[in-house]
């Protein structure tokens, strides 16, 4: 938190927040949770059209596929944790986005993993590459959600670092949509899943700062051990609980832990909550209230249910051998009150947690576009250089480690222009992700546009009509004027490209402070796109027989 923000909190509260309150505010006012540096600009993006059932604002967006089918889609980054612990960081990144999809009421049916690394010549980069892929594979495979595509790129500017983005889609019928907010008081808040430990304490603040050179040695609290076993049980238990129709609100615990999930669930429509923090099952001895409230332990969900339905719902959790506890309740008054035993340890106006003023940083344009010198080499050599670049070669080493067939829907598998999943006997959903930081670095506006255009082109290449977009904006510190400028330009590029196709962004994510040892990454917008394709119209890129004509369109 910045000093002016602390001052503002004191003024609004009329007193100094105590230790617990301060920790909770710090989490909620972090860049990662509040989007304070990006919110203003994200408003520029188009978010509505006839395909959109639910745009940005909740855990994931919802798109209409046909009258009976809705697709939930979201994208997340897990860059900082993956850079210090690639296996656990990448795996828990998958877990997080899968729960985001789940908590809208949908069964997660596919993942994409756009991932980026430094050059493979260096040992540390190879280590990051190998273990990020293993982390994604082990988690996605074990929870039975196929990873059907992604991107793998290597770039100088990511030396010692990694960008791990994961997009996920889920399938449901439109009336199954559940919201993340409550609309009545007196509901019980039920916490389900893993016990709470000290892992991930300050995770969001960690993700809101640059990494130092020795990040590996830093506090382990920012990384978590993935538990796909519990996640899979959570998926099945949640979907079964939702079938009862008695879940009033649902949210996963991600960044900001219990504080973020419960305060947003209660506060969004003006209600309040009382939380009994000491009831939370603890994994480590002697945890205090502050630790319990802001821990980011993985594989936990928060349900809101009426008292009379508690039994029916929790029986389902017990069937799946998941631990649960009533951790609090919603109240009429818009306050956020936390008890530890009999002691009231926090009492804040609930709006204070969520209502974070925007920050507008100084923005400075830069221009590095110049004519590129063409190297004096033969066409043959040029071809070999291009085709042997790690950025161009087949990414089979990566996607063979992913179960891309589980759930029995994958019509077009990895290795093609876009993946296609069978949704019903006639239609499929095409899903693809693209980003091009080298273009973005040269010209952030056009780079962003090209990411959208490439994604759309890939959809069209398999025969699909584009439906919707999500975006993930990976940037260095917004406090650098050039970075902030490139961020704004990127959004304008994303906006204009989407408008040109009449497409909308239904969800997204912003990750700032991606720099290690004071070296900012290139602006890296990643776009994932959805399309609808008639199964019998699917096209693939391989030549089908001898004697076919080859042509180029659009030069």
């Amino acid at each position: 938190m910045f000093p002016h923000e602390e001052k503002l909190i004191r003024e609004r509260l009329g007193r100094e927040p105590n230790e617990v309150e301060k920790a909770m505010l710090e989490v909620m006012w972090s860049e990662h949770a509040s989007y304070k540096s990006s919110r203003k600009w994200l408003k520029l993006l188009p978010t509505k059209n006839e395909h959109v059932i639910l745009g940005p604002g909740e855990d994931a967006g919802v798109v209409k596929f046909d009258e009976n089918t809705a697709i939930v889609v979201g994208i997340e980054s897990h860059n900082h944790p993956s850079a210090v612990e690639p296996y656990g960081g990448a795996a828990t990144g998958v877990g997080g986005i899968v729960r985001d999809i789940l908590c809208m009421g949908a069964r997660p049916i596919a993942l994409l993993d756009p991932i980026r690394f430094g050059p493979l010549e260096k040992e540390r980069n190879r280590y990051l590459f190998e273990y990020v892929v293993k982390g994604i594979a082990d988690y996605g495979n074990r929870i039975g959600v196929p990873t059907v595509g992604g991107e793998t790129e290597f770039d100088e500017s990511l030396d010692n670092y990694t960008l791990v983005n994961v997009a996920c889609i889920g399938l449901m019928s439109p009336e199954e949509l559940v919201h993340s907010y409550v609309e009545e008081s007196g509901l019980l808040l039920v916490l389900v899943g893993n016990k709470t430990g000290r892992d991930g304490i300050h995770g969001v603040t960690f993700a809101s700062e640059e990494l130092s050179e020795n990040a590996e040695e830093e506090d382990r609290s920012a990384v978590q051990i993935p538990d796909p076993f519990t996640e899979k049980l959570l998926i099945e238990a949640t979907l079964e609980a939702l079938k009862t129709g008695k879940v009033k609100a649902l949210k996963d615990l991600g960044g900001g832990g219990l504080t973020c999930a419960s305060s947003e669930m209660a506060g969004k429509k003006g209600f309040g909550a009382i939380i009994y923090a000491d009831r939370v099952p603890q994994r480590e001895p002697n945890m205090n209230a502050m630790e319990v409230m802001i821990s980011e332990s993985q594989e936990r969900m928060l349900f809101a249910v009426r008292k009379e339905d508690l039994n029916e719902i929790t029986k389902i959790f017990e069937k799946y051998e998941l631990e649960w506890v009533v951790v609090g309740e919603t109240i009429e008054e818009p306050r956020y009150i936390v008890y530890w035993g009999d002691e009231k340890i926090a009492d804040l106006p609930i709006g204070l947690l969520a209502d974070v003023p925007i920050i507008e940083w100084e923005a400075n344009p830069y221009s590095i576009e110049k004519d590129v010198e063409t190297p004096e080499i033969s066409v043959e050599e040029a071809l070999i250089r291009v085709l042997s670049s790690p950025n161009v070669i087949d990414k089979e080493w990566v996607y063979r480690q992913y179960d891309h067939e589980v759930q029995g829907r994958t019509v077009l598998k990895p290795g093609l222009d876009a993946a296609v999943l069978k949704i019903n006997d006639e239609y499929g959903l095409a899903f693809v992700s693209d980003g091009n930081p080298s273009y973005s670095y040269l010209n952030p506006y056009h780079g962003a546009m090209s990411a959208v255009v490439e994604a759309v082109r890939n959809l069209v290449s398999v025969g699909a009509r584009p439906l919707a977009l999500v975006d993930n904006l990976n940037f260095a510190s917004p406090e650098r004027p050039e970075v902030y400028w490139s961020f704004i330009e990127t959004i304008k590029g994303l906006r204009d490209a989407a408008k040109a196709f009449s497409l909308a962004y239904v969800s997204g994510n912003v990750s700032f402070y991606n720099e290690v040892g004071n070296k900012p990454i290139k602006p890296t917008p990643v776009v994932a796109a959805l399309g609808r394709v008639k199964l019998e119209n699917i096209t693939t890129m391989n030549f089908k027989s001898e004697g076919e004509m080859i042509g180029i369109v659009g030069i």
């Binding site: 430990g197 590996e216 040695e217 051990i225 519990t230 480590e284 993985q298």
Partner: protein, 81 residues
């Protein structure tokens, strides 16, 4: 000189350990009174070196363990020439 190192890599105290928990529970279901079960990683390495301590330390740091989440310990035994 040849050496044999026995290296144990453990999760740091307090971290979630789903693997240990699940296997421990499986033993409980078979009727045993298990208080705790852990599955540290265990390596037996036969190698040649003039500086065995230094090299084993390095192997742990560079590959076998991640200092962010692991602690490690080892014993080194000489196997002669």
């Amino acid at each position: 000189m040849k050496w044999k190192a026995r290296i144990i890599v453990r999760l740091k105290e307090g971290l979630n350990d789903p693997e240990g928990r699940v296997i421990g529970k499986a033993l409980k279901n078979l009727g045993y009174k298990i208080d705790e079960l852990k599955v540290p990683k265990y390596f037996e390495v036969v190698f040649e070196s003039d500086e065995p301590e230094k090299e084993v330390e390095e192997m742990c740091k560079r590959l076998l363990a991640n200092p962010v989440i692991h602690t490690y310990e080892y014993e080194i035994e000489s196997l002669g020439e």
